[in-house]
Symmetry: C2
Subunit: 338 residues, 2 copies
C-alpha cells in the first residue's frame, strides 16, 4: 500500500509524512498529491485571518472543539493549517501547537499542522494549497487555514478558502483602521473577538458602517481582488448577494462560538445554493494549473538556453545597459525553443 | 520631450503620471520604465516593516525630515512608497498621506506615494518594484518602502530593499512574539519604537536574545529566505558579517532618529564594502527578469493553444478526473509550441 493509499485509509502517520513532503517541496509530495487529487473537493475550507493580538488561535481552537462536540448532529472531522511566520530557532510554531492542542489532544478527529512560512520552499500559497488538498483527501470535513498578519498573504488565503473569517479585536492601535479597510474586501464573516473589552461596541459599529459603504458587487465577492478570467463559470445570474455578518465572540470564555459556527454554516449553504462554491473551487484549481504551467514552461525554456548566453544577458541587465523587458525579447527571440 | 525625459528633468507631474501608469499596469508605464532603467541603481532602498500599531509612518516621516535637514552635510532627496492595505472606499491611503505630509509638505526634495495593495494589478511586489525604479531614476537618494503587516509581503519587500528595518513596539499583544521570529530573519536593523512605554526594556532584551540565538549565517543574510541561485556573485569571501543592531526610538518625540539614521548609514557602508550592495541589486534584477520571462512564456504559449482544448482540459481538472500536474503534461506535450 503506497503512502497516498495509507492517507485515504486514515493513517495519521502517513498523513504527517505526506504533509512534510509537501512542505519540503519533495517529489514524494507531488506524487502523493497526484494520487490524492481525485479525492479532494469535499472539505469546507475556512480561512481565518486578522491582525496580531486578535485571538485567532483561541477562536480556531474553540470552533474545532465545537465541531467535535456539536449540540446536535454528527461531530465533524476538523483540520487546522496554521501559517505562522515563525522560524525553527524560536520554536514559535511548536509553542503555538501546544496551546492549541490542550483541548483537542488525543482526539483522532482533529489534525493540527503548523507551518513556518520560511519552510514553504515552493511558495507559501502553493504549499498551503498542497497541505489543504492532502487534508481534504484525508477526509477532514472542515479545514481551517489560520494566518497572522495582513496583506498579500491574506488575499492569497482568501483565494484558497471557501469562507474567509476576518477577526478584529477592540483597541489594537492606530493602524487597525487602515487594515480593516483592506481585508474587509476579502471577508465573508467579520468576527469581533474579545468582545467583552472596552471599545467592542465601537468596533462593531465601525465595521458595520464600513460594510454599508462598501456596496459589495458581484465581482468583488466572486474574485476577492483576483483579476483572473474564469474560463468556466457557474454562478446563477439572479443569485442573492452575501452581506458579511458581524459576529461578536469572547473565545477564551467560549462565548459566541455557536453564533459563529452558524454563520459559517449559513455561508456554506449560500455558496452551494448560488453556485459560488463551485466557482471558488474552479478559480482555485485554474490558478494552481496556471502557476504550474508557468513554472514548467520556464524550466523547459531554461533547458534550451546556454548558461553562457543567459549569464551574458544578465550581466547586461546588471550594468543597466539592457532593460529587463528588452532582455526577455532578446533571450526568447534568440533562443531555439521560443 | 517624452514623459521619461520629463521625469529625468525633475518634473513631479510627469513622475506622478508615470507612477500611476505603473500602478495601473499600463503600457505607458512599461515604456517609461524601459527608458528610465539605465538611470536606476543609485538610490538606497530602505524597507520599513512591522506589525500594526508600531508607528512605522511616524518613523518614516521623522527620518525623511532628518534627511532633509541633516545636522551636517547636504540634504538628501527622499521618496516614500507606502504599501497600505487600504481601499478606495475608505480613503485610508489618502488619510495616511495627509498625516505624513504635515512636516514635509511643499518640500520639493520629498515625494510620497501611497499605494492601495488592491490597486497593484500587476502583482504587489512587481508594482512596488516598478515604482521604486521610477523614483530611483528620478534622482531620489533614499527610497523608503513602508508595508503594514507581517508575512510574505514583508519578505518580498526585503528582496527589493538594500536595508530592511523591522519596527517593534512594547506591549502589542500575545502574537507579537511569533511575528518577531519570522521577520527577524529579514531585519538588517531592529527598531523598538514607542520606547518610552512600559515594557520597552523587555522588548529590547527579547530581541537581543533572539538575535544571539539566531547565529546569522552568510546564507540567510545574503538571500533573506530566497532560494534563487545567483548567477553572478560578487561577495568577498572574508567579508565581515552584519549583526543587526537594536535601536530605540520615540518617533512622535523625535527621539533616537539620529541613531537610527546612523545605523542606516552604517548598513549602507557595510553593504558597499562587502559587495552585498551589488549582490542585492543583482538578485533583485535577476528575479525581475525571471518573472518577466515566466509571464512572457505563458502568454506566448497561451496564444498557441486553442481555447476549446484549454477549456476541456480545465473541465477535466474541475471534475477531479485529471490532476493539475497531469493536465500540464497533457497540455504542453500536445501543444505545437511546447
Amino acid at each position: 500500500m503506497n503512502i497516498a493509499e495509507q492517507v485515504l485509509e486514515g493513517s495519521r502517520l502517513a498523513l504527517s509524512r505526506v504533509l512534510t513532503y509537501i512542505e519540503n517541496d519533495q517529489p514524494e509530495g507531488r506524487e502523493a498529491l497526484k494520487a490524492l487529487f481525485p479525492h479532494t473537493g469535499k472539505a469546507h475550507i475556512v480561512g481565518v485571518t486578522g491582525a496580531p493580538g486578535t485571538g485567532k488561535s483561541s477562536l480556531v481552537n474553540r470552533l474545532a472543539y465545537y465541531y467535535r462536540h456539536p449540540p446536535e448532529g454528527e461531530p465533524k472531522r476538523v483540520a487546522v493549517v496554521a501559517v505562522d511566520p515563525s522560524s525553527p530557532f524560536t520554536g514559535g510554531a511548536i509553542l503555538g501547537d501546544r496551546i492549541r492542542m490542550r483541548d483537542l489532544a488525543g482526539d483522532p478527529g482533529v489534525f493540527i499542522r503548523s507551518m513556518a512560512s520560511r519552510g514553504a520552499l515552493g511558495g507559501l500559497a502553493r504549499t498551503t494549497a498542497g497541505l489543504v488538498q492532502a487534508l481534504d483527501a484525508a477526509g477532514f470535513d472542515i479545514v481551517f487555514i489560520e494566518t497572522v498578519g495582513a496583506g498579500q498573504a491574506e488575499v492569497d488565503v482568501a483565494r484558497l478558502a471557501h469562507t474567509t473569517l476576518v477577526v478584529e479585536a477592540p483597541g489594537l492601535g492606530d493602524d487597525v483602521q487602515a487594515i480593516k479597510a483592506g481585508i474587509l474586501e476579502i471577508a465573508d464573516i467579520l468576527v469581533v473577538n474579545k468582545a467583552d473589552r472596552p471599545g467592542a461596541d465601537a468596533t462593531v459599529r465601525a465595521l458595520t458602517e464600513m460594510l454599508k459603504m462598501a456596496h459589495p458587487t458581484q465581482e468583488t465577492i466572486m474574485h476577492h481582488g483576483q483579476r483572473m478570467v474564469i474560463e468556466v463559470g457557474a454562478r446563477r445570474e439572479d443569485a442573492p448577494l452575501w452581506v458579511p455578518p458581524v459576529v461578536r465572540t469572547v473565545a477564551v470564555e467560549n462565548e459566541g462560538i455557536d453564533d459563529l459556527a452558524q454563520a459559517i454554516a449559513r455561508h456554506r449553504a449560500h455558496l452551494q445554493e448560488t453556485g459560488e462554491w463551485q466557482i471558488r473551487d474552479r478559480v482555485r484549481l485554474q490558478s494552481e494549473l496556471e502557476n504550474l504551467l508557468r513554472d514548467t514552461l520556464m524550466q523547459r525554456w531554461r533547458a534550451t538556453v546556454s548558461a553562457d548566453v543567459y549569464r551574458a544577458t544578465l550581466e547586461q541587465v546588471f550594468s543597466r545597459r539592457l532593460a529587463p523587458s528588452d532582455a526577455v525579447a532578446q533571450l526568447l527571440d534568440g533562443a531555439p525553443a521560443a
